[in-house]
């Protein structure tokens, strides 16, 4: 993906940096990236976005035209601009692997570096990890709702910008979607791409049947007919004619798509028409405003739908379009620090997440502890992924991230998977970590 670059930042990161520079404040600071609260109905999050972040940081630098722009604002001392010319990120990062399930107040990552370096990343890290985590978490809910039916990301047209489209495709694939309509995401990430025809295609022909035949002639291996342009039931009967023609040619119609109307009633009517004509293998794909709620509702009401195209509502996480994600200083110049503003208190100190599981691998409890601690037989989750500004090992493939999510999700007890009930997974503090919080009074 495109470089964000160091000007992708709130101005205050740079004014603070200029201050630290002028006062020669180069002590190490550790910042923790975490989510303060669950959005409505959420009980867990799915980590995503780390690969982008690490690549950006490894190549982080100010290009001449970027420095020229900063100079043109007449806000910054010359010696600070000279300093930026040679600026590189030299710090250390602990992070949750992408695809990991995690909970509020648990660090997604912690950055330790001279304070200018760790501070200056704030805006970018919040944006890139926050958004991808938001979407992976939303997509996981859709996958759960669909009960093993395939889901395809159809959100590109209404997501919030160009970059969002690519990140949504990647995040949904991590969370178990089978593919995307987004061709560029297919190219960048190798995600399977999918899609056939719009209503305008049907309308461009003198008859619906002519449109269907033309398409199936050109794409005998990839035909899904959109049958609701004029009348879904009539469309289904035409689809049967196409299926018969394809069968006679040794081919097979993949499916039909419903995009409007009463999905429960229509899908069952269409299923019956296809089955009675001897085409039980033709799948019914539904699109049109789907998210975990609508999927759950239609399946509960007996819709005969084999796969869903999931678009806008998932792609912008419409019921919760942002996370209360923050990046807070927890350690500076050898001391643990915390913020005490009302309603915005933070936990001081460099952390590790320890996850306790039962004998079947089900999550029992997480313990937030000190980074160096060991907590019983619990697994530490944060891994050192960057040191001296260098990525420590190759990032896992998207397929492996997807498998990691699947495994983690299989360990999440059913009560936390709920799409509507709040069940707060227990996250406690280790004795040593709790002791650290009390005496700190600023």
């Amino acid at each position: 993906m495109h470089r964000a670059g160091p000007l992708f930042t709130d101005l205050y990161e740079l004014t603070m940096a200029a201050c630290y520079h002028s006062l020669e404040m180069f002590s190490k600071a550790t910042f923790s990236l975490f989510i303060r609260a669950y959005p409505p109905k959420r009980n867990y999050f799915v980590a995503a976005g780390l690969e982008d972040a690490l690549r950006e940081l490894e190549s982080y630098r100010f290009y001449p035209e970027e420095l020229d722009f900063l100079a043109s604002t007449r806000r910054f001392p010359d010696n600070f601009l000279s300093y930026l010319e040679h600026f590189r990120f030299s710090g250390m990062i602990y992070a949750l692997p992408e695809g990991s399930i995690f909970f509020t107040n648990e660090p997604i990552l912690e950055v330790s570096a001279p304070i200018i370096e760790s501070q200056i990343l704030e805006t970018y890290l919040l944006n890139t990890i926050g958004f991808q985590t938001l979407i992976a978490s939303k997509a996981a809910r859709c996958v759960y709702a669909a009960q093993n039916r395939p889901l395809i990301d159809f959100s590109l047209r209404r997501v919030q910008g160009l970059d969002a489209g690519q990140k949504v495709a990647r995040s949904t694939y991590i969370a178990g979607f089978e593919g995307t309509s987004n061709v560029l995401a297919g190219k960048i990430y190798g995600i399977p791409i999918s899609g056939t025809m719009a209503h305008s295609f049907v309308m461009a022909f003198d008859s619906e049947l002519e449109a269907f035949m033309a398409f199936s002639n050109l794409f005998p291996k990839n035909t899904v007919l959109l049958i609701d342009t004029y009348d879904t039931v009539k469309g289904a009967h035409l689809a049967v004619l196409v299926a018969k023609k394809m069968e006679a040619q040794g081919e097979a119609l993949n499916g039909v798509r419903l995009d409007s109307g009463d999905y429960v009633k229509l899908s069952n009517q269409v299923r019956r028409i296809l089955d009675e004509a001897g085409h039980p293998n033709v799948k019914i794909i539904a699109t049109g405003g789907f998210d975990e709620t609508k999927i759950t509702d239609l399946l509960a009401r007996g819709a005969a739908i084999d796969a869903f195209g999931v678009g806008t509502k998932m792609g912008v996480s419409s019921d919760a379009p942002y996370l209360d994600i923050v990046y807070k200083m927890v350690h500076y110049n050898g001391r643990d620090v915390r913020k005490l503003s009302p309603g915005k208190k933070t936990l001081a100190g460099e952390k590790q997440i320890f996850r306790k599981k039962d004998e079947k691998g089900r999550f029992k409890e997480d313990v937030l502890g000190l980074r160096g601690e060991t907590v019983g037989d619990a697994d530490p989750l944060l891994e050192k992924v960057m040191e001296d500004g260098k990525i420590l090992c190759p990032h896992p493939s998207l397929i492996r991230i997807r498998e990691h999510f699947k495994k983690d999700f299989s360990g999440l007890p059913e009560k936390y998977r709920s799409l509507s009930r709040r069940n707060f997974y227990p996250v406690t503090l280790s004795a040593r970590f709790r002791a650290l919080q009390d005496p700190i009074n600023k």
Copy 2:
């Protein structure tokens, strides 16, 4: 901004194009981009995103690596891929100028071109114009709520992706925001940038006062002190000390920032402390979860706030994070066409919007008519902006677009500006245009 490129598309645009190509269907099709329904509480929209769209289309082409990717999918006939190699957009576009106020079912733009060309743009146009229009429309509500107090875009850290941040900064500036924290948007668009310090800055010093003094020493012309890290009232007293020191040096403290707590109570306490110390010119800036609703509420309750930093909720349009925006074929091969799917009917034909105003320039009514029609003394709003694939005249500057919005907004009657009441602005059909809709039965 970055090129999106032709792979920024749903796959079906390309499969349909391949079909049209194989059947030599090159007739002209006109597509209309419009919004079907208002999101909750909205009575109008603000058009944005046209400049990006026109630039993209003028340079629209398939690069070799993009063609290689398409070939690698083994979905497309070779002669179609050869055709794409020389593909350019050669069509005509009518559009609403950016910054225009418009209503449901009114075209934001209409594209006329050989069907492959007009169809293939769908995903990109919906995305780029839809998102920017969404945010400009949301931002206009915030500006209205603030009653002439300046607003600054502080959303970059939690918007949905990288380019979303730039588009939000630009769209909010069109709608009347005074600036942005987003440095990159300052560079790209020349929008004034703003920002000073975070809580971590205050925490990095041994005392709050030390942090404040250090900052004001380095930035005597741009100091806004964040006073809620420990205790807002104590912070305000420290701000007075800084203001006195700056005054003695012939400088002036710009302001203090509140980011938490009871804003009504605290802002009045802080105002009193500053005033009684002889600093009535020090502004109070509030940040933290602001949108039009919270701004309205706090001002109604007497908050002493001079300016707002408006972030996440505006930057993702959290109460309505997408528009029901569509791109529908309305004319093909010499005939007007429309879609009849339940709840998704479209208006056939190439359109013009005619706006009737009273003698004071207030909007009275819009009439949707045929492109060639004249409707009384009403102004036609759609302008021809592209012909033969070429942009017809230089795009207006951001300042001019902003002025255009301001003028349009001044003509919008008060009842439609309401932030919570639904008042549907009248959009009627001209007699000729209405007559066109009836006989069309497919």
